[in-house]
């Protein structure tokens, strides 16, 4: 009895110790069936399993990846090659399902001529009825309907079998930018109706895209297979295995060992060692993905502008960039990312200055500091590192930050209630435009404005800009809005991420898009 108890105790403790070393069960699940040496198969490691296949509801990178593989849109972004790497040129819109379009003189009526050779994966030919039906599904959805409104769409009508007319409420510079998004995929409406409606789309696809989603298990992996009757350029890859591996270090290991050819969400601290690994290429590019520290403007003391500004002076910005992100991020100086046209840092004075922070706190009526609750969503090592550093700095000015960990799913639900006192979150504007960005995040009606920022002047500027046809005038208006936001500090600006993708040497064709989604139809493996 004595010996057994000790053996068991030691084994349990050792097991706890070593549990971190063991490979995730998922990583070995199908490794036997992978043809990593095959030139038409690509295996990728993603961090999340995705939530839905429905184009009008998909919102996270993994779900969006499936949608873009299985569906086409009316138009798409052009690509360009800069310094030997391919990037999307979102300023240029090129034909996809629509082979051409005309705009009326007052910029409110768009007439699209559709290709006649687009065939859905079900065998049905795409007609204008499908386009009209798809827009109806979008308008009726929970997620994409907001974009429908933001694009200013008033009416969609079929002129004939291969012509569709879209009427806008007013001239809208975002319309053509929003059409290439995954939310505006063209859906085989006949198949959807035959299967009972939009519900069916969450676990099935009805698209015309270059791949079919052969299988999808959000807890292990998904398999995409090339659709051989695709109307456009056939993809080089025949099979794409996407494995869902939640542990970042596991993804890094798999890439380093060559078991996957592509890995997303590489932690900053592993970039250096991966770059040194033979056979691995790390593609790290500045992006418009921002990380911000939100303070709920409806919950004291963050309803006081001076308090929010004080917090913004207590954040160790340089430490975040060097110690936490290790150079894989750059400074964020406005609510809008620096790579977004129309960006301005006017009005932003925040730097790391504890004395100024103390001064502002005293002015605000909190000379001895205060205590507040911070909710930390799990899953991102840099978020939790940032939180600890910020907590330590705030403690130096007498402010106590109570951190509560929350699993990601609960975290997303919690912040959507708009009652979380403070949190860190990241955001990528898939349409690289301040109108899109500010509209969703910082206008009073913005569906992602979880910090309850409400400034009537900002709203008025945004509304005016949304129908302004001249880009110069628009950017001026957005600049004024940013200046107000920078002064009122609803957020503290942490940093702008680089989008880091790990690739096996020989994996070609990766094109970086603002949405960070990989288009497998462009890729090949040597």
């Amino acid at each position: 009895m004595k010996v057994t108890a000790k053996v068991i105790a030691s084994a349990v403790a050792a097991g706890l110790l070593l549990s971190g070393c063991s490979a995730n069960a998922n990583s070995n699940a199908n490794s036997g069936t992978d043809a990593a040496s095959g030139s038409t198969t690509l295996t990728a490691a993603y961090s999340e399993g995705g939530t839905t296949l429905n184009p009008t509801e998909a919102n996270d990178v993994t779900s969006d990846t499936f949608v873009l593989a299985a569906y086409d849109q009316l138009v798409t972004y052009a690509t360009q090659e800069v310094d030997g790497v391919k990037t999307a040129n979102t300023a240029e819109i090129v034909p996809m399902i629509a082979e051409s379009w005309e705009v009326s003189d007052d910029d409110t009526v768009y007439t699209f001529s559709l290709r006649d050779d687009v065939v859905f994966q079900s065998g049905n030919t795409l007609t204008s009825a499908d386009v009209v039906g798809s827009f109806e599904l979008i308008a009726a959805s929970n997620s994409a309907s907001f974009l429908y409104g933001m694009a200013g769409i008033s009416e969609v009508t079929a002129i004939d079998e291969s012509t569709v007319q879209v009427t806008l409420t007013a001239p809208n510079h975002l319309f053509l930018q929003i059409l290439p998004m995954y939310s505006f995929s063209m859906i085989d409406t006949a198949t959807v109706e035959a299967n009972g409606g939009a519900e069916w789309l969450s676990t099935n696809t009805a698209g015309s895209g270059p791949f079919t989603v052969d299988s999808w298990d959000p807890s292990t992996e998904a398999v995409l297979t090339r659709y051989d009757e695709y109307w456009g350029d056939a993809p080089e890859l025949e099979t794409v295995n996407i494995k869902f591996i939640t542990e970042a270090s596991n993804r890094v290991q798999l890439l380093a060992k060559g078991e996957v050819q592509l890995a997303l969400e590489i932690p900053a601290k592993d970039v250096a060692s991966l770059e040194d690994t033979e056979g691995v290429v790390v593609d790290s590019r500045a992006s418009n993905k921002i990380l911000y520290f939100a303070m709920n403007n409806n919950i004291a003391p963050f309803d006081n502008e001076l308090v929010r500004q004080a917090v913004s002076f207590a954040i160790p910005y340089d430490k975040l960039l060097t110690d936490v992100m290790q150079g894989q991020a750059s400074a964020m100086t406005s609510s809008v990312a620096s790579s977004t046209p129309g960006f301005t840092a006017e009005g932003n004075e925040a730097t790391y200055d504890l004395d100024k922070a103390k001064e502002l706190l005293a002015e605000a009526g909190y000379p001895d500091g205060f205590t507040f609750d911070f909710t930390l969503g799990s899953g991102f090592q840099d978020w939790s590192d940032d939180a600890v550093l910020i907590q330590a700095e705030l403690a130096k000015v007498g402010v106590t930050m109570n951190i509560t960990n929350m699993a990601r799913a609960q975290f997303l639900e919690a912040i959507a209630t708009k009652q979380v006192q403070s949190y860190i979150s990241r955001w990528t504007s898939f349409v690289n435009d301040p109108g899109y960005h500010l509209g969703l995040l910082l206008t009073a009606d913005g569906t992602s404005n979880y910090a309850n920022y409400n400034n009537a002047e900002v709203d008025a500027l945004w509304t005016e800009a949304s129908t302004e046809p001249s880009q110069e005038k628009r950017n001026e208006l957005y600049g004024q809005a940013q200046e107000i936001i920078n002064e009122e500090t609803p957020w503290a600006y942490l940093y702008e991420y680089n989008i880091v993708v790990g690739l096996q040497e020989g994996t070609e064709g990766y094109t970086s898009y603002p949405d960070g989604i990989v288009r497998y139809s462009q890729m090949s493996v040597n």
């Binding site: 009895m1 004595k2 108890a5 000790k6 105790a9 030691s10 349990v12 403790a13 050792a14 706890l16 110790l17 971190g20 070393c21 542990e247 970042a248 270090s249 890094v252 290991q253 932690p267 601290k269 592993d270 060692s273 110690d323 930390l376 799990s378 090592q381 939790s384 590192d385 939180a387 600890v388 550093l389 907590q391 330590a392 109570n402 951190i403 509560t404 960990n405 929350m406 699993a407």
Partner: protein, 296 residues
């Protein structure tokens, strides 16, 4: 003849054997090793505030991710915090969690088991079946459910682990009570008209203590492990509190990149402290059991 008042009758540990108990324990070498380990962690965690020049949450106390060196015996973590200070601070929390959790289990489990065993009948059955239901859950899962319901935090972890330990103590006390209530002195007490509570508290429980004491020491070790597991998954201590489970969880991502000390030292702390409690528990059982066999 003076009337013998029932309330003056009281069970007592036999004095002749009480003297030898301590000496017997001291002679048990492994038990002393266990006691030594526990003393090491207890004293270390109490004194660390005085002994260490660093704070447990002091970021930048040293270079980031520094390997163990003279200045930092256990190395530093990714914020430059001294790991040794954190490990001993964590010891304070872990030991405290163990104590409170076992106290909760004892305070609720022993009376429940005693009542169930003494009363028998439907009351006893109901109580013990409820204990069975709790025992049916894997203990870590039950602890997770309770901690999640209470919200993340160290007090939730303490309460959760305490609740998980109740059925075991209830069972032990039940078993002891059922066997002890057959004894003549219990019958005598009943014949004298002593109320059930008096019999339970003054006569039965003192004699049932031995296995409960042993179980308590083992329970401390188990409580430390479960609390660490809860913190590992994020339900226990919140940042920047130093706690062994949290430190292992945070250090996980660094094993592959070579910063082994982040998980090694907290893991070693958990392993040795549980071992210490187990060795002590074994020694106590060796010392206490034979005594029960020799009692009349």
């Amino acid at each position: 003849m003076p009337e013998i008042q029932p309330k003056n009758l009281r069970s007592r540990r036999r004095t002749s054997t009480t003297v030898g108990f301590g000496r017997l324990l001291l002679r048990n070498k492994l038990g002393m090793v266990g006691l030594g380990v526990i003393a090491f962690w207890t004293l270390g965690s109490i004194l660390i505030g005085v002994l260490s020049p660093y704070g447990a949450t002091e970021t930048g106390a040293g270079p980031l991710l520094d390997a163990p060196s003279a200045a930092h015996l256990f190395g530093t973590d990714n914020f430059g915090r001294d790991l040794m200070t954190r490990v001993f601070e964590g010891g304070k929390l872990s030991l405290w969690t163990g104590l409170i959790a076992v106290a909760i289990s004892l305070a609720i489990g022993v009376p429940l088991g005693g009542i169930a065993g003494y009363a028998g009948g439907w009351l006893g059955s109901v109580i013990m079946r409820v204990m069975d239901v709790l025992l049916a859950f894997p203990s870590l899962v039950l602890a997770m459910a309770v901690a999640a319901a209470l919200g993340p935090g160290t007090s939730s972890a303490m309460i959760a682990v305490g609740i998980v330990g109740i059925p075991e103590f209830a069972r032990i006390t039940y078993g002891q009570t059922v066997s002890l209530k057959q004894r003549e002195w219990v019958e005598a007490g009943r014949a004298l008209g002593l109320p059930a509570s008096t019999i339970l508290i003054r006569h039965i429980v003192p004699n049932a203590l031995a296995p409960i004491v042993v179980r308590s020491t083992l329970g401390m070790g188990y409580a430390i492990l479960t609390a660490a597991a809860l913190s590992f998954i994020g339900l226990g201590a919140q940042p920047p509190t130093a706690e062994w489970g949290v430190m292992i969880s945070d250090g996980r991502g660094y094993i592959i990149s070579g910063e082994w000390w982040l998980t090694f030292f907290p893991g070693l702390a958990i392993a040795t402290s549980i071992l210490g409690f187990n060795l002590l528990g074994d020694a106590l059982r060796d010392v206490l059991d034979p005594r029960l066999r020799t009692t009349a």
